[in-house]
């Protein structure tokens, strides 16, 4: 059997595929963050809490209303998105004129409050959520056993990422959005309702987080801290990709998933730190991130 540094190539393929799957979560979460930062200039620390909320909404839909996974996939992002719209209107909109730090502090506080409320109500051990029957089981590939659900995660997140990118880069709506970011006063002078655009953008960004939460619910522990655990890594992904760069966040998300997967084979102890090491190196060489524009 062929080996690379003592690891059979077959096992390596398996690990790379798993890395790609984890990268899907990073990609979809960092995409939401990048959109929000790019258009609203808000560093949305509440993103992890809203991802957690997506998973909990999926659980609630199932336990209180008997609505299964596929319903949740559509409804939970909607619920989280509407919640985001309310947050933006009531609180975040007041901070656009102030320094970044205020937005960061506000959203960080919001994250703590949301997590605290869920912890108080549901405890910390988490709640059960099963893989939908249509996607249980798996395929025996030559090099690994691939659960169907994992394959679905990659497909779903790639689709959402590409669709989002197309909307923002290729449609008229996206063009308005980008213009509103560049020069809000001028765009408003053309009769475009900029504040509404910003509200909807925030709602859409956090709906992506809710979507990722539903994707995660069947495979990760659904508990109030699940967002806090992942959000730091996702921020590192955004920083490496370049704050606000949409395509950068998606590519970096998948790429770092791969790097993390490889680390888990060769030196598992470092797999939680490798992303931050890369972040430091990237910041030293390209302070604006791999895909960021230098101001």
């Amino acid at each position: 059997m062929m080996t690379i540094f003592g690891v059979p190539t077959q096992a390596l393929f398996g690990q790379l595929l798993l890395g790609l799957i984890n990268g899907s979560f990073y990609a979809i979460l960092s995409l939401g963050l990048a959109i929000i930062f790019g258009l609203l200039n808000i560093i949305n620390f509440a993103h992890g809490a809203l991802y957690m909320m997506g998973a909990f909404v999926a659980w609630m839909l199932l336990s209180y209303f008997g609505l299964g996974y596929w319903w949740a996939l559509g409804l939970a992002p909607l619920v989280v998105g509407v919640f985001g719209v309310v947050l933006e209107r009531v609180l975040i909109a007041r901070l656009y004129k102030l320094d970044h730090l205020y937005g960061l502090l506000l959203t960080f506080g919001l994250a703590l409050i949301i997590q605290g409320l869920f912890r108080n109500q549901y405890g910390v051990s988490g709640l059960p959520y099963a893989i939908p029957p249509e996607l249980s089981g798996g395929q025996r590939l030559p090099f690994m056993f691939l659960p169907n659900y994992r394959a679905w995660v990659v497909v779903a997140s790639l689709t959402v990422c590409i669709a989002t990118w197309l909307i923002i880069e290729k449609t008229k709506l996206g063009a308005y959005l980008r213009a509103a970011t560049e020069n809000p006063t001028l765009v408003q002078a053309f009769g475009v309702n900029v504040p509404l655009f910003l509200t909807l953008t925030y709602g859409f960004g956090v709906a992506l987080a809710g979507f990722a939460g539903v994707l995660a619910a069947p495979i990760y522990s659904v508990n109030p801290n699940m967002g806090a655990d992942i959000i730091i890594v996702v921020f590192a992904v955004v920083v490496i990709g370049g704050m606000g760069s949409i395509i950068g966040s998606v590519i970096t998300g998948f790429a770092l998933g791969l790097v993390e997967g490889l680390t888990k084979v060769f030196y598992p102890e470092a797999s939680s730190t490798v992303i931050f090491v890369i972040m430091v190196l990237v910041l030293l060489v390209k302070p604006a991130g791999l895909f960021g524009r230098t101001a």
Binding site: S125, Y220, P268
Partner: protein
């Protein structure tokens, strides 16, 4: 901080009792502090449930009939040793707390134990795992009540090897607790004729275990030992189900699993998991009766073995104080607790050993299949009872200074 959750619930019952028994001047005042995790990773095992358990112990003991006036206070140590030690110090110095219990999280437990010895009070730990509490760091003021890493290793490790699980692969949380658990279990496996074929150190905490599980799968080991706790355990079991580990003939052994963890997984995912616990709510009529009273006050959740431990140790402590009629000398109270055999509805008969280790039976459980489970808390089948004298570390092996060679 101790005033955050004031408990005046006993006052009414107490006042009613006063008129019937001894005059108030003859009563011994006792203050019990529940120092646990009220907001973090272990708050479902510890937290408010421990306070409820202590309150139930008072209801059953009826302190006023024994000339005692008991008060309960509680606080959150946030799983930080410095916070735990500071609260313990303040409780002992300023608030006249006589005994601290719960103490989940090993590092915090060791810190509280130090302060307790310094102030000559009483510390009864229920939630922490480290066997050092009754080993190299044992103290005349500390009792370790529910379980420890050695007992878990003996229980799950020993039993699995005897049941044919002769080759093991470990997923080990990369910090002291995980490594200790792996070391202790490895000793037990080797002693019973089994073999460890590999292990992987997983960063703490980890959300995605799939690549580690893949390594465990390709190792061909018969048993995958999970030397981790809390959300790490839940994630690894959930993902093991997804990757068809148990369907492929490999068994999962949870080395530290509480019923609240299994409840969170659901039987569909956790079925077949083998684990060791000293208590389960559905063991017998007495545990069921206690659990019913408990869940009425806890939004329907059932007590974990840690909660049962708090109930049991508060009961035994009060029995000892009722005899000594004083709480002034903590070491003397602990000596009295060691001299008296323990007996309560949840753990049955037992003893507190010279090194502070409370001895009782442990049980090997297997998580039920969804078809067998009759409700969300109907989780375990009992596989076997492991007698207390076999499951805990022999008295002479712990290197405790209180044990005379």
């Amino acid at each position: 901080m101790n005033g955050r959750f004031p408990l005046a619930a006993l006052a009414g019952a107490f006042m009613a009792g006063v008129a019937l028994t001894a005059p108030a001047s003859a009563q011994t005042a006792v203050k019990i502090g529940i120092l646990g995790d009220r907001s973090g990773a272990y708050s479902d095992i510890s937290g408010e449930g421990s306070v409820v358990a202590a309150r139930l112990a008072l209801e059953d003991f009826k302190p006023e009939q024994h000339g005692l006036k008991v008060e309960i206070v509680s606080a959150d140590h946030q799983n930080k040793p410095d916070v735990g030690a500071a609260i313990a110090r303040q409780w002992y110095d300023r608030d006249h707390v006589d005994m601290i219990t719960d103490g989940v999280t090993s590092s915090v437990a060791l810190a509280i134990s130090q302060v307790t010895k310094e102030k000559n009070k009483v510390f009864i730990d229920t939630g922490a795992g480290t066997a050092d509490l009754t080993g190299s760091q044992c103290s005349p003021n500390t009792i370790h009540w529910v379980y420890d890493t050695v007992a878990l290793a003996n229980g799950t490790g020993g039993a699995m090897v005897k049941r044919g699980g002769t080759t093991w692969f470990f997923l080990t949380a990369d910090y002291v607790f995980g490594q200790t658990l792996q070391r202790d279990t490895t000793n037990v496996i080797n002693k019973n004729g089994g073999k460890v074929v590999g292990s992987v150190k997983t960063p703490f905490p980890t959300a995605d275990f799939s690549s580690f599980l893949l390594q465990a799968q390709s190792s061909g080991a018969k048993v995958i030992g999970l030397a981790n706790a809390g959300a790490d355990t839940i994630n690894s079991i959930k993902q093991a189900g997804e990757f068809g580990i148990t369907e492929g003939g490999q068994a999962l052994a949870g080395l530290l699993v509480f019923s609240s963890d299994v409840h969170s997984l659901g039987t569909k995912v956790a079925q077949g998991l083998v684990l060791t616990e000293p208590f389960y709510w559905d063991l017998n009529d007495q545990t069921r009766a206690f659990s019913d009273r408990f869940s009425k006050q806890m939004k329907g959740s059932k007590p974990t073995s840690n909660h049962a431990g708090v109930y049991s140790d508060v009961l035994h402590y009060l029995k000892a104080v009722a005899e000594t009629k004083s709480t002034a000398d903590g070491a003397a109270t602990v000596a009295k607790m060691k001299a008296m055999p323990t007996d309560d509805p949840l753990f049955g008969k037992g003893v507190v050993r010279a090194d502070g280790r409370k001895i009782h039976d442990m049980y090997l459980f297997e998580v039920k299949k969804p078809a067998e489970s009759k409700g969300e808390w109907d989780l375990y089948n009992k596989l076997e009872t492991i007698p207390g004298d076999q499951v805990f570390r022999p008295l002479g092996d712990g290197n405790c200074s209180l044990v005379k060679g």
